[in-house]
Each structure stands twice: as structure tokens, then as C-alpha cells.
Symmetry: D2
């Protein structure tokens, strides 16, 4: 048995309610599909969900306090996420909570806040094939994945992707229409670990794909806090450890 | 003759006006001392200054548009810097403008914004000796610097410094009271280059030190835009370069 | 109970046999002291030892095959380590075995081989105080360590240290004589993790220090293989996944 | 006018002499084509060539001493490169000389030596289209390049590519047969800069492509020594800068 981890899957949950075609793909919402895949792949994960329209977007101090890894899906409502909640999530990531940013979350406030760059890219919706190649077959997030993951239809994201150089590159995507994209990127920030994972456009059943579920469950384990928790401070240490001025 | 570079030295310019003891050290303001040192060391730099209390903090779109490298000194008034100006500076850095963040600018909005972490540290004001060791004597910022720079009296900054792992480490500081600090850190973000340089507490004549002036002039050259300029966008490229759906 | 890990502590084991003064510090050899400290701190580690003068330096294919993390102490006999054994260790690290390089192993063939740089430094033997500051209190290797580790007497190593920029910086050392050094450095190479840890000169009882034992036990856990194992190959994949030449 | 740089283009020069079909593509050798392209794009480069069968492979101490950037093309004869010459080139790179490793030089002794990893990949010769996407349009190596470089026919190289995470990612390749590859990778090692550039299989006229010539000329400028020269040493600094033992 593995260590129990507490995971929250956050979703803005708008497309699925506003658009019939999306609701058909994810009747319970994208968050429910992701949560269910995580639970199936790794029964030792303790998975719950949260959505934008809940009070505090479902991310109260208390819940975040007890959260090990936060998954984030957002797209059309990035601007509605309260800055106070973004502050809170950022603080927790820097203290050690893992963050897995999914697909259009490349433009989520919390993702841009943690990386500091534009996080822009090129894109196209054209029902095209995506193939995510494993760049490092020995990486924990690639465990149990074939040489690549093939998705018959997905939205295209293309380079240039406006991000800092990833600390580790796990996946790069090939697209049928001719583009490439860094689609599985690891970052170490403060005490927290951040994984960006590209696939998951709302119009496709990507989160039901067995290898995608595997990758997400692996990402939860990888992103989990590994060290002690460090609460930020900026202390004035008035007492020096060595005498000052002796040699003058 | 080297390429001409346009440099702006920005300073909040408060300590020097509010406190007699600081004004004695920097009668024209810290910005004037830095600008004069840059000019002395590298006559091909075209140096101007800007301060917090000017309209738009002296950083209008037009000025930033023509700026190659921005130096930033701030401390007691970080909170007074308008978010709109921070947005503007961040945009320009990601397009290629260099940024040199000085001393207490570790807590400047623009620095925290670009790095995404807490940027916190430990500190002490005790008139102690600082010695900045060169970690890579072949780095352009270390050109013409001895094995180390000694400053007889400085404020102490100590680890842990809450930053992402530097892309290149140029200096690490030793302090008389027993601490160490990553005091010369390079980052590549977007198309811009960022250099954090620790020394420069307002109460000490640090910016008149010849080796400090040398390091700052080197930093201006290192941080200058080296590639083409890239203005951010997130284009919808509807035309694929390869036919889609042919093999289905 | 934690997962069991198989650890080998390798030592050239020469100083302790050749020099009375060193034997007094480490009567059973440096390897025995390190192994015993690991075992004490983490009973779930399965620790064994190996030394230079054993056949194949105690590092046969079979032993390495079953090794999760290898600790390496060497100094006066780097040149006697057979290249074939270095090849073998490098191969296993790139497949996922962890490596913890200790003190003068900065010049071990295997360390230089994996990093590719000179790994040179400055040094002095003067019975001086070393203080290792934690740069990231939330890092797994710093778990249970105070803000710093103090060692009353150690050899000095100083910057510049000729290494690639560490992927994560865990410790930086302060020395009484005025120098600093990057003394706890993490690298990701292939599927393996490498940790360099500075302290441990043969003339001092450093490996009996409780915080040093704690850091080494933490390093064993951090460096352990985390993903699947990847055996290197360079395959000719003659069958393309997409048809070639269709659009011409 | 730009600063003059001294560039050596090294080629094993075997395919072009042994195989009629290759000689037709590169009648004067691959090195001649590369050298001529560099010269055309940047007249301030002082370009010379060197080949495997010359004494010391054309890379005497004297020549390397005066070399700013070395380009390296090798494939079938990696094993014939003398270790002494590899040592010499490595030393110069760590002192500040730039290295541009081309195509099958991913397996050159000098490249593997500097990176420390397997540098393995997957491959296929199938006359397929390659498209190199620019990951950072503001990077100096991408200056003057379109959003991508298209090559009608090339050999395929695919992930996983067994390299350390690049310090900067300039290009990623898309292949017609369905693979991707990190094809323009920057590394900082010691005082030297290393650029790996994937295209350039001997059977295709890749080095005559205008955008490829542009990228190589840019790479020469990027890889040029930017700081002072640092000759490695490991000095015993017996004189401490601070008194030792005072506080005991």
C-alpha cells in the first residue's frame, strides 16, 4: 500500500453546463472524470473536487491546508478566479503542495503567477491526431506509459510556448497538422512541484483514455510534498553566529 | 567601440530624501551614483534615470519602448509601484529588455512577478563584512573582477533565499556574522535576461566601489537584448501545414 | 515502514590503513562509519559496503544490478579506479541508480564523467569551522535538519567550483577563513539522481555528526530510483506511425 | 561590423570520399559546405576547416588555442577520434571555446563527454519531411528564422533523446512519420557554450538550405566566448582571508 495522498481536482465547470455538446462528453463535469480516473488508477489517493462557483471557489484555507496535490482545469473563466484565492494557492504551492495544471490552464492566473512568463502558444481546433512522446522513459510520471500516447482527436497547441525552460521534460507532442509542443513539463518552485500536462480539450473524451489516466495518477504521486513544510517568513536574525568587527 | 545600449536606472528615491544619514551617503540619490558608475565604466552606455514620484514612475510606454536594460532599486515603497507599470515592465522583459534587480528589489513587485516565488530571505543590519565570491570566473558579468569583491560594511542577507534555481550562478556571498547568500543570479525568462545582484544597502557607499561598478556595467552588457524582439500573442493558426484526416 | 532500499557505500579505504592519525578517527574505515550512520537513521535501508581493493572494486555487475543508491568516497586513489567499473556505474546511474558523491569525490572519475566539467575548486587544510546553510528547508534532503549544520573543524573547499549549474541547491557552506562553497547539489541525469555533498575530510569525525548522518540518510531516499527502469538503446524504428510521402 | 570570430569546422570526411551518392551531394565535403555557408551569412567570421585524417585530426594545441567556436560533424568514425584530442577539445570548451555539435555528433566522444549521458535516440532513414519549430523566437540563434524551418527530406531522429535538460530550448522537430525531437539545445558548461543542432544527414543537401545556414551563423555568434578566459586549476589557498580559531 502506498502513502495516502489528499488530492483536490478543481474545475471551472462552465463549458459542461453551458454547452450541450460538451455535456455529452463530460456529463458530470471534467472534474468528475479526472477524479474518477485518479481513483481508479491509484486507490490510495483520497480525491475530492472543487469548482469555481462554490464559495471561495471551493478552496478555503482549511481545504487547501489539508491538500497535498491540486489539479487545475480552467479555460473560459480564468478572469473570474479571485486574486485572493490565487494568492492562497500560490502560498500553498511554495510551501510544498503540488500543482498539476491541465490543458488551457496554461493561461490560468495561478500558472502564470508561478511561472512569471506569458505562457502563450499557438492553437487550432481541427479534430487532429496528437501523439505525446515520452522524453524520459525512466521518469516517475512516465511509469507504465508506452513510448507514446496517441489521441485520435484533440485541439492543437503549438510552439512557441512562452514558458521558462522546464526543469524536466517528460512529454513532447506531435500534431497531425504539422506542429509540436512541450506537453509535459516539470518545475520546482519553492518547496512545491508543478506539472503542466497539455491534453484535455473539453470537446474530446481525453480524460477517459487509460494512458492519460495513468499519467495523471503518476503526476499526483510525483507532485506530492516530499520534504518538510516550510512556511515563508523574512526574519531579522539580529544575533550573528560569529563575532563581528573583531578583525578591524 | 561597443554597441550603444540604452539603460534606465530606476530608484524609488525615498531614503535619500527622508533620512539625513542616507542623504550623506548618496546626496544625489542612489540612482545617480549607479548611473554615474555605469557611464564611467562603459562610455557606450546611454544612461538615464527614473524615480517613483515622477508621472508613471518615469516609466512611460515610450521610454520603456526604447530601453534595452532597466536597473531597479526599491525598498520601503514597493507597495506604491502601480500594478499597471509592473505589467508594462514585465511585458517588456518578456519581449527582450534586460532587468537588473538590486539588493532590496528582491521584494520588488516586478522581481516577484517574474520569478513566481516568495523571494524571502533572512537579514541583519550589523555593519559586517561581505565578500562576494566569483563562482564562474569566465562569466561575462565577472569579467575584470578579482576572485572576490570585499565590502567592509554591508547589510547581511542570508539563506534560505526563496527563488527558483538560478540558470547561472555568478556570485555567492560570505558574511562576517556567519551566513551565506546567492548574491549574483542569472535567469532567462521569455526573451529577457534577469540579473539579481545583492549588495547595495542604502546606508553604505557600496555603489561607489570600483568592482561593484565593474560588475554592474558588465551586467548591463550581459542583460542586453541579444535576439530579435518577440511581441507576445496567442494566435489561432487555422491553416494546418499538413493535411488532417487523410489517414483515417 | 518505508520501502526497503539497497544501498552500497563505496570507499577507496586507503587513508585509514596507511595513516595512523586517520585510523584513529575511522578505525573501521570511512565506509563503515557512513554505513552505520545510514542504518541508524533509517532501519529500512539495506546497507552494504565495497572498497577499491576488492575484485572489481567490489562493484560487480551483479551487485550494481541490485543496487538502488551508491555512495562514493575517494581521494588519493581516483586514478586506480578501473575505467570498466566507471563505465558500469555510469550506465547504472543513467538507468536510474542514485549516486551520492562525497567530499573529495568531486574529482572521482565517475563524478567528472557524469557532469562533464572540471569539478575543480580551491582548498585549504586549516582546522576551520564550516557551516552548511540550508537553501531550501522544504527539500527532502533537508528534512529534520536545522537552519544550518555546524562542523567545528573541517577542510575548506572554496568557489569557483567547476560544475554545471545544479538542478537544485540544498546547501551552501560558509568557512571561518572567509570562503563559500556550493556544498549540497542535486542533478538529474538520464533516469538517475546525483547528489554531491561536500563535508567529510578523512581527518575529522564528520560522519559521526548526527545532522550529517541525517542528511546522508535523506539523500539515500531522495536519490532512490523513482520511475521505471530504462535500459539504453538507439533503435532503428523502420516503421513510421504515419504514412510518408502522401502529400508530395 | 561585428567582432571577428575564429571558427573551425571539423568533419570526419569519410562518407563523402567512400560513397559516390554522398559525394554528389557534398563534392567538397560537408565541412566545405558548412564553412561556405557561415562565410556567406557572416563575413566577419574567420572560418577554417579540419578533418579526421589530418595529423592530430587538424586540431593541434595551437589551432585550438586560437579558436573561438568549433563546429563538429562526425558519424561513422567516432571511435577513431583520439582520446587525447577529445581531452584537448573538452579543456578548451570548459575554458570558454564554443562547440556546435551537428546531427550524428550526438554520439561524438566530445559531446558525450561534455554532457555525461547516453545521448541515444531513435532513428529512421525514410526520406521524410522535417519541420524545426522555433521555441523561442527571441533567442539569438533564431534571429532571422521564420516560425519554422522546413526540410523536404531528412533522416528522422526521435525521442527519447538521452540528454540532460537543455538550459535553453531553441528548436523542436516534427517528423512526417510521426515523431518529435529536441533539435536545437543550448548548454552552459564551464565557461563554454554548447549548441546541439539536429539536421544534416549526409545524404541530403541540408547545409545548403538558407535558413539552416542562417541558424548555423547565429549559433557561431551565440557560442562565442563572452567572458574572460578561465584556465582550470585546483589551488591550495593556504592563506585564509579571515583569522581562524579566534572565537574558540
Amino acid at each position: 500500500m502506498s502513502e495516502r495522498l489528499r488530492v483536490i481536482v478543481w474545475n471551472e465547470f462552465r463549458h459542461e453546463r453551458d454547452e450541450e455538446s460538451i455535456r455529452e462528453v463530460y456529463p458530470q463535469g471534467i472534474h468528475a472524470a479526472i477524479a474518477s480516473g485518479l481513483q481508479e488508477m491509484d486507490p490510495d489517493l483520497e480525491v475530492s473536487v472543487a469548482t469555481l462557483d462554490e464559495p471561495e471557489h471551493g478552496l478555503s484555507e482549511e481545504r487547501l491546508e489539508r491538500c497535498d496535490v491540486l489539479f487545475w482545469w480552467g479555460h473560459m473563466a480564468h478572469g473570474e478566479v479571485a486574486d485572493a484565492v490565487v494568492d492562497r494557492v500560490q502560498k500553498r504551492v511554495l510551501e510544498g503542495m503540488g500543482l498539476v495544471a491541465l490543458h488551457s490552464a496554461h493561461y490560468a492566473k495561478i500558472f502564470k503567477r508561478l511561472l512569471g512568463t506569458t505562457c502563450s502558444l499557438t492553437w487550432r481546433e481541427a479534430d487532429e491526431r496528437e501523439r505525446l512522446w515520452v522524453c524520459n522513459p525512466g521518469h516517475p510520471i512516465a511509469r507504465g506509459i508506452d513510448r507514446c500516447i496517441e489521441l485520435e482527436r484533440e485541439e492543437m497547441y503549438g510552439e512557441p510556448f512562452g514558458i521558462p525552460a522546464p526543469d524536466e521534460q517528460v512529454f513532447i507532442s506531435w500534431f497531425e497538422g504539422g506542429e509540436v509542443f512541450r506537453s509535459g513539463n516539470c518545475y520546482y518552485r519553492g518547496n512545491g512541484r508543478i506539472f503542466y500536462f497539455r491534453p484535455g480539450h473539453e470537446a474530446y473524451p481525453t480524460y477517459f483514455d487509460p494512458q492519460i489516466k495513468r499519467a495523471l495518477a503518476n503526476a499526483a504521486r510525483w507532485a506530492a510534498p516530499a520534504g518538510g513544510r516550510w512556511v515563508d517568513e523574512c526574519p531579522n536574525v539580529t544575533e550573528p553566529r560569529e563575532p563581528i568587527g573583531k578583525s578591524r
